[in-house]
Amino acid sequence: MKLSLTARLLLAGSVVLAAFLGVTGLTLDRAFSDYAEQSLQERLQAQNVGLIAAAELDDNGTLHMPATLPAARYNSGSSGLYAQITSNNGRQRWQSPSMAELHITLPKDIAPGVRHFERLSFAGGELYCFSLGITFDLSEATHEGFTFTVADNMAGFNEQLAAFRRSLWGWLGGVALVLLTVQGLVLRWSLAPMREVAEDLGNIEMGRHQQLEGHYPREMRGLTDNLNALLASQREHLDRHRHTLGDLAHSLKTPLAVIRGELEKSTPAEELPAAIGEQVRRMGEIMDYQLQRAATSGRLPLSAPLSVTAAAHKIVNSLNKVYADKQVECRIEVDEDANFHGEEGDLLEVLGNLLDNAYKWCERRVMVHAALDKQRGLQLSVEDDGPGITPQKAEAVLQRGVRDDSSNPGHGIGLAIVQDIARVYGGKLHIEKGPALGGTRITLLLPHP
């Protein structure tokens, strides 16, 4: 199963957030511990300077420390502050009283002028030591090197660092939690229209709605509008099929009734084939017409515009073959931008039926014309130089459709089919005397989609 959109966004957000907060936390932690260590060093250096100032060397080379030490903490073992002075030959010269209970060797023998920091671990914890090597001049010729070491217990330092870390990570964690919650809420709000579409579709499935009812944000409107158009066209199709099926069944009943009548009234045997044959022919035509109607797709959403030129050439090439004996001259005058918005089969059906009639009735010449009118839409006309048609008859042909075309097998079913397609596309059909060739001109007007 694929991860849901919410899960994806939350997952990606969490990873980014964790990385950002993690790096921030580590940087702050590092900066703080560096700073704390530096201030500890400064403190120890100050203590060391105080110790050096307090120490006095007499002419015999004996080291004297005052009774009152620079810091009171040197006196108590539990204070955690220690000091030690050693000669650079390794001899210990002085220890603070606090060192009495400390069994640890502090650094010594540091070369004069060198500053030495060191961390020492022992049973009771950790010491931070600072040792400084210096030289005392005993006389012009004799010098003696000493190492002054001050050490402080790190318990305080460590505790301070731990407290800082606790509060740092506590805050960062809290912020992360709040941000994730906010992100989750934002996602829920942003993706709400998706859930609405799903819900709407569910309603359509249940038959409660005919189309997507909600108001959707701009980004989704392309999707929802097209979905609605698709639904509408599906519905239209279904309706048409249902009607066609009904019409087919009903219109077949009449010829069937006639046949039954002929059989029941005991028509002479030699007349039966003619009587039944006529009805069979009629039934064939009815089926043809109704099947065409059912096959008409109508305007489909998401369909690319079709070039009328290409379709007209296809039909004309075909008809030139079929009517080869007639040597018809067909002119195709179709504008390049004359496009048909619909199904190719419907366009071929319109052109095929109109041109087939024209080829049938013409003397020699036929003309196809198509142009795009900005206001009125696609205008498609087929004209021939045949005997032409009177306005009354034209009206009758259009009115009658396929119901009763036995008197005029030429202009019957084909025109009825074209008229039906025109209706499905919201267009109109005109029959008139052709202005250019003098025969019949049939014009189909299809409005813009």
């Binding site: 004996d325 089969g345 071929l348």
Partner: protein, 227 residues
Amino acid sequence: MRVLIIEDELPLLEQLRTRLKQEGYAVDSACDGEEGRYLATELPCDAAIIDLGLPKLSGIEVIRKARAAGKTFPILILTARSRWQEKVEGLEAGADDYLVKPFQMEELLARLRALVRRAAGWAQSHITCGPVTLDTATQAVTVNGQAVELTAYEYKVLEYLMLHAGRVVSKSDLTEHLYEQDYDRDSNVIEVFVGRLRRKLDPDNRYNPIETLRGRGYRLTLERTSP
């Protein structure tokens, strides 16, 4: 005339075979696309009637393959679907005419006659060479306006010679186009028919309408006078 019918609906195929034979055609038939394609590319047909909805290989494919193999005989397609899209597809593939089922047999025969005549280069249904006129629609023959009674086989031979007027037609051409596959080619029945035709068309020995070119065949010597 030799016609190939490719149709998978056996009752319809049988009707077509019977009727076309009655009309004097030599008929070969296939009931699926594969066999049809084989016959269409191998037999010397004068025309083919092909149903578009065939098993194994569609009618459209059969037409395309026959045309690709250089076959130029006219093809009439039969289709149950009356949409133009399908008709156009068939005609673009190389067919010459179409009929939508159900059709009337007379209509089919008229279309077939017209296709064969047109393929031989005649524009009208009356074809005239010198004094002889042949109405392909009614199969009536006149010489100088006088009706001549011909048997079905005599008519077939004359029609073939007239459609190909001026050209040499070999004896094997005639047997191939007038008889079905299993016909005995060695028999001299063609010579008999040509002899009878000569007597009927030219009882007074004036035109010598059909000349014999020894070892090559026959030629209608009369000049084409109709378009």
